[in-house]
């Protein structure tokens, strides 16, 4: 067990290092930060001086090494764009993204399961078919378009919900939350729908397919034959057996909700890390880009590591391999 975990942790660390290396080798293609940092009146001498002090004249491997050295001491440098410590900016921006991801994740999970069950049980009903057709929109329309359409309908035409930003936020320690104010909650609705719609339709279709499969099983037929109430058959016997793959998918999707909030955050001017990253790319703010990419890869690697360990705990076959010598 311990050896397995150590090996997995080691592999994860290796993945992180490689991600960082790839990221740093790409930064030179994003553009030249010096151009943005100095005004149009700058001279060649200014450019060279700045490039040297920033270490941009060094090969990317050296830049990467410097980044690692600093990062190991918990120092992610100063944002070229804002002139503030990157760690401070990330901590400031992370709550917005996490709250948004949390709400859209919940919405996707519960909405998806409920609609999936409904469309499976009433698979020939009119409303179920309407829902199935509509779900195609969720799968096929690009996020930014959904966002713009929602803004147009609910902010411009109806005037019910705000079109941008987080509303009033309350600060609790280092955390800012929009959950405690009306404007904060209202501001959450449209971005959460935009971000969660794809995941919701995905889960819904998954639940429906699994459910249809399960409903055809013999034990369901026998349950019906025994005269067990329809409700109990559907929810106690059938649903339980459909949830295993749903939970696996949900776990994996959680990471992507956080990582791919970029587009939703840009459309709604949501002050989270995704918007920060877009700004960083446009400005070639290397310290912010590097820290963000490392943070996202730590998150993905971390989720995978936990999943692997869970499998190890759940699946006896993995352990059997290790202990095979005992037979």
């Amino acid at each position: 067990m311990l050896a397995y975990i150590i090996r997995r942790v080691f592999q994860s660390a290796l993945v992180l290092l490689v991600v960082g290396l790839v990221a740093f080798s790409m930064f030179s293609f994003v553009g030249d930060p010096v151009d943005n940092m100095l005004g149009q009146e700058r001279t060649q001498a200014d450019i060279e001086r700045l490039r040297e002090t920033l270490g941009l004249d060094q090969p990317f491997v050296v830049q990467y090494w410097r980044f690692l050295e600093q990062a190991a001491q918990g120092n992610f440098g100063l944002s070229y764009r804002q002139g503030r410590p990157v760690a401070e900016i990330l901590v400031e921006r992370l709550p917005a993204t996490l709250e948004l991801a949390f709400v859209s994740g919940l919405m996707a999970l519960f909405g998806g399961i409920a609609l999936g069950i409904f469309t499976a049980i009433r698979r020939r009903g009119v409303s179920a078919n309407i829902i199935m057709t509509a779900s195609l929109i969720g799968v096929s329309l690009p996020t930014f378009l959904i966002g713009i359409l929602l803004i147009y309908l609910f902010s411009v035409e109806l005037g019910w919900l705000p079109s941008f930003g987080r509303g009033e936020v309350t600060r609790i320690g280092n955390w800012t939350t929009g959950f405690l104010t009306t404007s904060g909650l209202k501001a959450l609705i449209l971005p959460a729908i935009t971000l969660g719609l794809y995941q919701m339709t995905l889960i819904m279709r998954l639940v429906r397919t699994e459910m249809l499969e399960v409903l055809r099983m013999d034990y369901i037929r026998f349950a019906r034959a025994r005269g067990i109430r329809e409700k109990s058959v559907n929810f106690r016997h059938a649903l339980k057996n459909t949830l295993v793959p749903v939970i696996t998918i949900t776990g994996l999707q959680l990471g992507s909700i956080i990582a791919f909030a970029i587009i939703t955050e840009t459309v709604f001017q949501w002050p989270g890390v995704g918007l920060l990253f877009i700004n960083a790319i446009q400005f070639v703010d290397i310290p912010v880009m590097a820290a963000y990419l490392m943070m996202i890869s730590v998150m993905f690697v971390g989720i995978n590591l936990i999943v692997d360990m869970l499998y190890f705990a759940i699946d006896p076959r993995l352990r059997a391999d290790r202990t095979a010598g005992g037979h």
Binding site: F29, V30, G39, I151, S155, V267, L275, Q282, F283
Partner: protein, 525 residues
Amino acid sequence: MKKTAFLAAALLAGTAIGASAETLRWARAGDSLTLDPHAQNEGPTHTLSHQMYEPLIIRDMTGAFQAALATDWAPKADNPDVWVFNLRQGVTFHDGADFTAEDVVFSINRAKSENSNMKELLNSIVEVRAVDDHTVEFVTDGPNPILPSNLTNLFMMDKGWAEANDSVDVQQVEAGEKTFASSNTNGTGPYKLVSREPDVKTVLTLNEDYWGNDAFPLDVTEIVYTPIQNAATRVAALLSGEVDFIQDVPVQDLNRVAQTDGLVVKTAPQNRVIFFGMNMGADDIENDNVEGKNPLADVRVRRAMSMAINRDAIQQVVMRGQSAPAGMIAPPFVNGWTEEMDSASKTDVDAAKALMEEAGYGDGFSIQLDCPNDRYVNDEAICQAAVGMLAQIGVTVNLDAKPKAQHFPLITNGETDFYMLGWGVPTYDSEYIFNFLVHTRGSDRGSWNGTGYSNPELDEMIVSLSSETDLDKRNATIQAIWDVVQEEQLYIPIHHQVLNWGMAEKVGTEVSPEDDPKFKFFTMN
């Protein structure tokens, strides 16, 4: 971290007090980069600073000079190397300290220091000295007739405040330092900083002790500034009434905004001209199909390419009327601009073909055009239109459109043969254009001249402008330089950009050519 709580309280208090306070909710695409007034020479940064800090002289909303912290200024009668500025009396900083000559001396020296991004504008200043509490002398390294134009974004800080808060030096991002002045302000301006979260929200409130309380409308008593990057969202926020005033209205949404009840769009020419540059200096250029020579080195080819561009079509189709076709690379506000030169560009495909034939390129050639895709209004679409137009005279153009962060280094490093560039002229004088775009590329001048053009005689004339005090003579030289630039077809001018501001009907303002609203001039009905 108490800031937000304080802000919330302030907002609650504000709503409770009621109607007399006029809040202006303002959105534009980008945020200010820093509150340190000398750390960045960039539009949105200066715009925010202008509400809290003041220079000696400002430009009003039409672009004309107006006295701010200086009441009058003139070169010394017996010595043209010295400018004398008389300072406004009775001005105080937000913290109550008096504004005096020593603050001017301090601020100018700070802006001239190594880390400052404003220092290039002050190159000619050798010394600044306080004569008395309200008189300052600027000593330049020779007569500098246009010194005042370089001071309109040069903000005055309080010496005592900067010293007390460890902000004497301009912030140096590369050294990893964060300074007090980059997140706090103490100016003499009409508004005071209440709270600021970079990229999210900045709140300013009226400075009750402002020296100009009776001289300006000052109807706006509170400013809430939120950057909204996505153009569609920005327009939606205006349409839904969540903001009162936006800059950067996309051309395709102008009608939508103008036709909405309670909203107006105001339009004015911007101080920015869009043009193509050509690498004529190289012996052979990289990305063409002509071996051993450079077709762009032939003035007939350059002229033919300019004649092939149909500027009216670009204006109507690409820009939906939101541009003014250009014949020279100076915006109309600039000293040296003439209507005659600006209407010089004529479209004539047949004549262009004949010129190509004459130059020996009757069968045309192919070349790569580098274009930004996130910098100017419809930049990539303009380039696409030009590709089709140049094809008519046999010039096959491969378009390579990139984000600005990748595009501009190509020009400054001389790695492009054919490129798009836009230029604004903050000093409102042709010398600025010549220094950067016409002078031979060197350490001090010509940094944006990607054409490889070098004409020592012209260089000498350009350098002479900086110290010529006889304005008539100076203007004659400017005209002579323009004649050469036009004759050589150094650049292919396309158009002057037009600025659009969208606002609620109650907001009253002119559109400033620099795209920098100064809210003390705004009225609210």
